[in-house]
Structures are given as C-alpha cells and as structure tokens.
C-alpha cells in the first residue's frame, strides 16, 4: 500500500466512527481529539476498525501513535512493511 492508500483507508475508518467529520479539513499533525468531538470509545473503535480493515492486530500500547492522521500513516506504513503485507 502507498502512503496515499493508507491515508485513504484511515479516513474511511474514521468516517465510519464519526461520519460528521469533514475529512478534507483534517489537519494531519493535530490530534483528532483536538479537532473534533472524538472520545475514548470513538478512539478505541477507530483503532480496532483500522486493524480489521488492514487485517492485522494493532497492539494497544501503540494506540497513542494513531492520535493524528500523519501518525496513523507513518505507523501503519511501518507495520505493513514489517508484516510484509505489501
């Protein structure tokens, strides 16, 4: 997967959890929680949803790395490489 594809996958999962968010307006480096209404349960559902979508389990200790869009892309790209899902 390219970084753009990972970004698109991230936004797809995000809008399943919080469909009201305008994904085009998301600032990539600011935490989701600081940009829109996104509580702990949303975040948990988002992290679990990402794992399901990309077909690997994201360890809970890594969840903080998913707190903004760039963080998701960097982390997921690295994970996909190590898991040889490419």
């Amino acid at each position: 997967m390219t970084d753009d594809e990972i970004k698109q996958a991230t936004l797809d999962v995000l809008s399943k959890v919080a469909p009201e968010v305008n994904v085009d307006a998301i600032s990539p480096d600011i935490n989701f929680r600081d940009q829109f209404d996104f509580d702990s349960m949303d975040f948990l559902n988002f992290a679990i949803g990402l794992g399901k979508h990309l077909d690997f389990e994201i360890p809970e200790v890594d969840y903080p790395k998913l707190s903004n869009l760039n963080g998701c892309v960097v982390y997921l790209a690295a994970m996909l490489r190590t898991n040889e899902h490419l």
């Binding site: 919080a18 469909p19 009201e20 209404d37 509580d39 349960m41 975040f43 559902n45 809970e60």
Partner: protein, 590 residues
C-alpha cells in the same frame, strides 16, 4: 446477574490498625464539628475546601497539580487557589450575580473550571458543570433548564457548540471565554476580568441548606433532571472520602473522573481539597502508558478511577504496568458501574492492590456503599453502607407503600433512608419527579440489587431503561428525541447494548419513513446527524434499521423487547434483564 460466591473474598491483613477516625463511633454532628465553619456561623463548601487551608503554614502546599499534554506540571497552591477564587468571586459580584444564581462551566479539566466552581460557591451561587463532550442539544437543554446566567467556556468549545445556541438562551447574560485571545462578539475575556479583580474577599454567609451544586442526570422519559445539592453536602463528601477512599491529608491523589459529572466534582474537586490533599488533574483523555507514567512520576497514593478505564488497562496488558514503579500506590477505588470481579483481582495481581468498588448516584451526592480499606473485599460486590448511611432492599406493595426485604440474597430495589447530608434537595423546577423518587422514608435508587448474609450489596440491574455507558447515565429519551428530528426516521427505540469495555453502548433501532431505504450511506448520515446534535458521549455508537419495532398496545416502543432481541433472549422472558419479576412494578417511577 451477580456472580456472588464465584470469586473468593479478599481478606485484608488485620495487622494494620485502622486510623482512629475509622474506629470512632460515627455521628453527623461530630462530622459537622470537625469542619471549620464560617465565622458568621454558616457553612460554605469553598471555605472548607480552600480558604481555611490558605494559612501561613499550609498555604504553600499544592492543592491542584495540572498535567499538560506534554506532561509538564502546573501547580496551584492552596494560597493561590484562595486568591484566584476570590478574584473570580469578585468578577461575579461585579456582574451582579447574587446568591442562588447559576454559573455553568463547559471546559475540559483546566484550572479555570476549578476556579469557577469554587469562586461561584464563594458568592453563594450555584455551580453547574457541563461535560465538554456534550453536543449542542444536551447543552441547550441543560443551560436552559438550569436558567444559566453565566457560562465559562473555551474559545473552541464556544465556537463549536454554544455560539449558535445564544439566541435560544435569553437568560444567559454573560459568557466568559478563557485564554487571552480576543473574545468572540457577545462574550468577555475571563482573563481580563479576573486580572482586574481583587484577590481578597469573604465567602457568602451560606447555611448548610443553601443550594450549592446542580448536576444534571438523564431520565428514561422527559427532559434531564437537575439534581440540586446544598453546602451541607460537604459533610458527607468529606467523611466518605476518608472512609471509602482512605484519603489522608498527606496523600497525592488522582481522581480520573471529569468534573462534568458528579464524581469529578465531589471527589475530583471538593472532598480532596476539604481534606487538604494534593490532587493530580490530567487534562488529557485515557492513554494507558501515560496513565502509568503519571501514577509513577507523581507518586500517586490514592487512585479513584472507573471500570471502563480499568478494563482498558487490562486490555493493554500487565507487562505495560510492570514497566512502571507503582510502589507509591496505597489504595485503589472504582466507581461508575459495577466493577467485574476479574478487574478487582487484576488490580491486586498487577498493581499490587485490589480495586475497591463503591456505589452512589448523582442524587446521593456522595459515596453511599463501599468496600472500604478496613473491610474484606468481596470481588463484584458494591460493598456495605458507610457509617451514617442506612440502605435497604425494598419492594413496592399493592397499596404503593414500600416493604423492606430482609431475607438475604433477594432481589429488590436498592433504597436509602432519607436525611443524609448530601441527599439531593430538589430536581430543579420539577417537584413531582422529586417526590416520585421517594416512598415513605426511603429514597428509591432505581437500581436493582440484593444484600447477602454478610451485609454486602450486589448490583443486579436497572429497574428502568437507563443506559450506563463508560460510567455515565444516558437517557434513551434524549437520544430518541434527537434522532426523531432526522427526516428519514419514522420511529426509534434506543437501548444499552452490553459491551465488554464500556458496560453498555448506545444502540438505536430505527424504522424508516416512507421513501427512505436502508443503506450504509443513510446509516452514516443519521449517525453523523446524531453525533452533531448530541455529542460523541451521548450519541449512538450503533444504528440498526428495523422495519418492525415492537410496541405496546398503546403504541409505545418496547425498549426491553428490543434489548431481549439484541441479546438473543426469549422475548417472553425479559425478566432476565431486569431482575426478579416481582419488582417490575417499580420500573416506571422515573
């Protein structure tokens, strides 16, 4: 159903002598004498929490330590807090706020919230916190029912959630915005007002029966209820913090609850300050590793958190906990929903101490039933009534009166004998619903429970359709009302769907209006619509389309049957959801 007996009792070592105040005979009169009181003879929570500690010897002690996003600490001493709350009280006086008028906050866990709360109490005003994850509709309902005159909020929350409501809130005269940026039109800068105000002043001469706090709680039908508490509630808040949380003046204490809810106000703000404790306040949301770092670096002794958080820590694994030095911890407590026995034991095995579950409600104003430090813990039980509190299991008789059930392990409604100091004194503007909360000498909690032969209480379920999610009550009616505003929604029933982390999550069953077809796009549209109105904390997490919602003969949607179907239970037997059939008669009280 409770799982009494399947997990062994945790027997406490009996070599530790309990503190003398725990052993002494308890009376509310003695508790009153232990407080300072106003020189005028009255009682004011802010004096007990702040001013009496702002002395030469004690004033330099840290009252509140705020942990910022980058984990730097910002300390507020008792002396600072006295001056800051005096400044805010003087701002309110200059705005013409008088005794009994209501001041609201809509913020995260920032210093301004704590200063507003205590400053409001100093002028004899009534403080009402709003949870920052509420959407515009729950906010409007509460500000309007509470007749808010002043609101303190942040620039972001104001623009996102309040600005569009202003013309529907005619009684809201003053909106004070935190931060030093120029405030939006129709608001004033809190910083500018506070800096111009004097740091001196006295507490208003309130009496123990003067209203102090307003907390909204949802109902199964109708609008949310505003439970009013008085300054005298501080007796029960202080005593319960000592007895149920084992809190001592030298402790570093962390209550993770948000002051938008009653736990965060009573035990994240008032009670620990009355005891002269140093409180940790983390402005960020749950993050397992961050939480362990805070426990370690701040050397937290007493930790009061919630089952959802404990279960999230369990999911993150023991290994993460073991990477941190948690040796400062002495006492762990939990509240919000029943703590499963596995979580109690996980605390003991992983953090070195079992979690002590306790039980109370917005209406009770303070912890009523607890597993205390000096008691053996029965994992899964809520504990025993605290000194000064009389609890009982009751059932409604044919003539409407209540009968106490004395046979152990019999399910009935959990009730409390009226008259404890932190009992709510009204539902704002709704005397009928207030009176319905009582029968004879009993306050009826709406929770079904049983008491075992040793006097421990066990939660069984709710007597009504209230949803408990991540420690907070959500009223199905409020959610259904918002969903009904969407044109595609013809009918809707909302239930709490069991969830391994949050206990329950809100699930909505929708039957569509003619001309609409169920689709993923429509599901997302309605979900987004609900989230914008209600906020993430209240909106459904799941939506299902269902052409055939079960209804009573009079056309009322039967939430219980929806829940039975969701759980795959036989539809004729909804009693499993609700405890024993004989108490179903209590279900429509609130």
């Amino acid at each position: 159903m409770s799982r009494s007996g399947t997990f062994p009792t945790i027997v406490k070592p009996h070599d530790r002598t309990p503190p003398s105040d725990v052993l002494a005979p308890f009376s509310w009169d003695d508790e009153m004498r232990a407080l300072d009181g106003l020189s005028s003879g009255g009682l004011n929570i802010a004096h007990e929490a702040v001013d009496r500690h702002a002395t030469e010897n004690f004033g330099a002690k840290v009252a509140l330590r705020f942990i910022s996003q980058d984990e730097t600490a910002h300390d507020v001493t008792y002396a600072n807090l006295a001056a800051d709350t005096n400044r805010f009280a003087n701002v309110l006086r200059a705005l013409g706020i008088t005794q009994g008028e209501r001041v609201f906050t809509l913020t995260g866990r920032i210093p301004e919230l704590y200063i507003t709360a205590l400053g409001t109490l100093k002028v004899g005003g009534v403080y009402c916190p709003l949870f920052s994850s509420f959407g515009p509709e729950p906010l409007h309902t509460r500000l309007s029912l509470g007749n808010a005159r002043v609101l303190v909020t942040t620039p972001t929350l104001y623009q996102r959630k309040v600005a569009a409501l202003r013309d529907r809130l005619p009684s809201l005269e003053h909106v004070l915005i935190t931060g030093d940026a120029s405030p939006p039109s129709g608001t004033q800068s809190l910083d500018v007002l506070v800096h111009a105000a004097s740091p001196d002043g006295d507490c208003a001469p309130t009496g123990p029966d003067a209203p102090a706090l307003l907390h909204f709680t949802s109902g199964t039908t109708g609008a949310p209820k505003g439970a009013v508490h008085v300054h005298g509630a501080v007796l029960a808040q202080e005593a319960s913090a000592r007895l149920a949380l084992d809190l001592r003046p030298d402790d570093v204490y962390w209550c993770t609850a948000d002051p938008g809810w009653v736990t965060g106000t009573a035990y994240g703000l008032i009670a620990p300050l009355v005891l002269g404790v140093s409180c940790i306040v983390d402005g960020e949301e749950f993050d397992a590793e961050r939480w362990y770092r805070i426990l370690e670096e701040q050397k937290v002794n007493v930790w009061y958190t919630a089952p959802t958080a404990v279960r999230m820590l369990m999911k993150a694994g023991a290994e993460l906990a073991h990477r941190h030095d948690l040796s400062a911890l002495r006492f762990l407590a939990s509240v919000g929903e029943p703590l499963n026995p596995e979580a109690v034991l996980w605390g003991r095995d992983t953090l070195g101490h079992p979690f002590h579950d306790n039980w109370w409600q917005t209406e009770t104003g303070a912890i009523m039933i607890a597993n205390t430090a000096v008691m053996d813990i029965k994992p899964g039980a809520m504990g025993k009534p605290l000194p000064g509190i009389t609890a009982g299991i009751v059932r409604r008789m044919a003539d409407g009166s209540m009968e106490e059930i004395t046979i152990p392990n019999t399910v009935g409604e959990l009730a409390l004998r009226k008259g404890w100091p932190s009992m709510f004194r009204s539902y704002l503007g709704d005397e009928v619903r207030y009176q319905k909360s009582f029968a004879g000498d009993w306050y009826l909690s709406g929770d079904l429970a049983k008491r075992d032969e040793d006097g421990y209480y066990w939660f069984v379920g709710r007597a009504d359709d209230m949803i408990k999610s991540a420690g907070h009550f959500i009223g199905p009616f409020e959610v259904e009302s918002a969903l009904m505003e969407h044109p595609a929604v013809s009918e809707v029933g909302v239930i709490g769907k069991p969830d391994p982390v949050a206990m329950e999550v809100v699930k909505a069953f929708i039957s569509l209006a003619p001309g609409y077809t169920a689709s993923e796009d429509l599901r997302r549209e309605i979900l987004g619509f609900a989230r914008q109105r209600l906020g993430a904390a209240v909106a459904p997490r799941e939506i299902a389309f269902n052409a055939d919602l079960p209804k009573t003969r009079s056309g009322k949607i039967m939430r219980r049957l929806l829940k039975a179907r969701e759980l795959g239970l036989p539809e004729g037997d909804t009693s499993t959801l609700l405890g024993e059939p004989q108490v179903l008669g209590t279900s429509d009280q609130r």
